[in-house]
């Protein structure tokens, strides 16, 4: 067979399979598109269901009133909304300093061996089911204090935040160029000041994003609060008492036999999602603004 004949054969078989290639292309495209929409479907149906049900049920009373006694319609979840916000504040006070400090230590001071050990531990911590955090907080805080309390609930959430905050801090602090540290040290600044003034400021946008992600993650947690914050049908009078929280209230109302409570559970879910959404929105905005400020003309 001479070379022209080979060429012709190749060309003819190329033509012959053209139809099949086109079909395969289209089939593949349709398949992956279908998968992509399947991913979106549950999310959208959850959100649309939540929005329709939630918006129908939410009203001013819901936001500013206490729950009514069983059987009586109306009332709201004001105590749970405030309770959740308080729990999140306590969680931040517990989780952020520890996570931030640990992340700084791992990036700036630890030997690579120790750092990778801590990294492994934080990954494991991330995978621990949230109910286990609740049990831990029950054993460590609730039993000695002899009472369910806002403090123990907030601490449980705070401990859950630690691994996320640690990892993001370590990652972003580690990404700060070495030359910046050297420039600080060359001005006579001690290491701790360079770390706080220069390194941390440079990494701040990433760290804040990490904190917000952690916060959003724990904001919806129910399990760690079941036997720590416990829930409360009234306003809490101190942080050492049981406190209401949105996820707990939603849980209690959703499994109740009353239609009005189901309605309120939807409204509670909508408020909870809104809080998480707002937190994420702020985190994003902050991160974008910071990265604009620090990347202009670099």
């Amino acid at each position: 067979m001479n070379e022209t004949a080979v060429q012709e054969r190749i060309v003819s078989s190329f033509r012959a399979t053209r139809g099949r290639r086109r079909t395969a292309n289209i089939v593949f495209f349709i398949a992956v598109t279908f998968c992509a929409f399947t991913v979106l479907l549950p999310l959208f149906s959850i959100l649309s269901h939540l929005l329709t049900q939630g918006l129908r049920s939410i009203n001013v009373d819901f936001l500013i009133r206490l729950p009514k006694p069983v059987g009586e319609p109306g009332g709201g979840m004001a105590n749970a909304i405030v309770g959740s916000l308080i729990l999140l504040c306590i969680a931040v006070l517990v989780g952020v300093p520890i996570g931030l400090g640990a992340g700084i230590y791992m990036s700036e001071y630890a030997s690579s061996r120790f750092a990778s050990m801590v990294r492994f531990v934080t990954d494991v911590m991330n995978g621990i089911p949230s109910i286990v955090y609740g049990m831990f907080a029950y054993a460590v805080f609730v039993l000695p204090m002899r009472s369910f309390s806002a403090l123990s609930g907030g601490a449980a959430l705070g401990i859950m935040m630690v691994p996320i905050v640690t990892r993001t801090t370590e990652e972003f602090v580690g990404a700060v160029p070495q030359s910046l540290r050297e420039a600080g040290l060359a001005l006579g600044a001690p290491k701790w000041r360079v770390t706080l003034d220069i390194v941390l400021t440079s990494a701040m946008s990433g760290i804040v994003t990490g904190i917000m992600v952690a916060l959003a993650r724990v904001a919806g947690e129910t399990a760690p609060l079941l036997f720590t914050a416990f829930g409360n049908h009234f306003w809490h009078s101190s942080l050492t008492e049981p406190i209401a929280a949105l996820p707990l209230q939603i849980f209690a109302y959703a499994i109740s036999p009353f239609d009005d409570w189901h309605r309120q559970a939807w409204a509670g879910a909508l408020v909870l999602i809104s809080i998480i959404f707002v937190v994420n929105l702020f985190a994003n905005r902050y991160a974008i603004r910071q990265s604009h400020a620090s990347h202009v003309k670099r």
Partner: protein, 272 residues
């Protein structure tokens, strides 16, 4: 360090009588530097003169930057690094136990290869070193910041925007800002590690001009890869090769009639 001494130092800006030509600022004696077992600097001895620009040239990896970092003991930060020999600044051994590293770094400022503005405002960048030293008084800070920005030939470009982020300045401006920041703490010596290698020719020319101006007040040691730059700005030049000081002398002599054939072949571009 107390507040008072800092202020005195800053306000005594016009220094004593202009230095005599051959006052020696830094004496280096048999300096060796080891990274683990590797001998990065090998028996360097040289005298660096007061208020002169001393250039260090040599091929990559010859130890220039390592050498420069010994002067403000940034070399201490290298894990596994060890110094042998003596470096005397104003007659005092910088590796002496008595030496306060913070005080040393105040006296020996440094400008890096890549500009390193802190993620702060222009004002806060220049004031950073002073604040570290404990200066809190705003009027003192303002005064020093203006003085240093003027001296670094940056004042006119930034005076209306001192609160702007330093990261928004151009590369050349950032490098001049770093020079202003370095001189704000009142050093005698300024170390420059290839300060122009990331800059375009215009910005480089401005920095070189600035170096020539700063010479009237500071002892400058500059590491450079750029032979023309060494010839333009320096009074004395040292040629390093494989951690050894091959030749050291007046720049004019090094560039026109070097004693050592190696120096000549490096300068004429035959290696390195």
């Amino acid at each position: 360090m107390s507040n008072g001494s800092v202020r005195v130092r800053i306000e005594a800006a016009p220094k004593e009588a202009p230095a005599k030509t051959d006052d020696v600022k830094i004496q280096v004696r048999d300096l060796c530097y080891f990274y683990g077992k590797h001998r990065a600097l090998d028996g360097i001895t040289m005298d660096i003169k007061t208020k002169r620009v001393t250039a260090l040239i040599g091929p990559s990896g010859c130890g220039k930057s390592t050498y420069l970092k010994v002067f403000n003991r940034m070399s201490d930060l290298v894990p596994g690094g060890r110094v042998d020999g003596k470096v005397l600044i104003d007659g005092r051994d910088i590796h002496d136990r008595e030496t306060d590293v913070v005080e040393l770094r105040r006296k020996v400022g440094m400008v890096f290869q890549r500009s390193t503005p802190f993620p702060k405002s222009i004002f806060d960048n220049v004031a950073y070193g002073l604040r570290i030293l404990g200066v809190r008084d705003m009027s003192t800070l303002k005064q020093v910041v203006e003085k240093c920005l003027r001296r670094a030939a940056l004042w006119d470009e930034v005076k209306d925007n001192l609160s702007k982020s330093a990261l928004q300045l151009s590369g050349g401006q950032q490098q001049r800002l770093c020079i202003a920041r370095a001189i704000a703490v009142g050093p005698d010596v300024i170390l420059m590690d290839e300060p122009c290698s990331a800059l375009d020719p215009t910005a480089t020319a401005r920095i070189e001009e600035l170096i020539l101006e700063l010479k009237s007040e500071y002892t400058i040691i500059i590491v450079t890869h750029n032979m023309q730059q060494a010839a333009r700005v320096s009074d004395e030049t040292g040629f390093l090769f494989m951690g050894k000081l091959i030749e050291f002398g007046p720049t004019e002599k090094i560039f026109t009639a070097p004693n050592n054939p190696m120096t000549e072949s490096y300068i004429t571009g035959r290696f390195g």
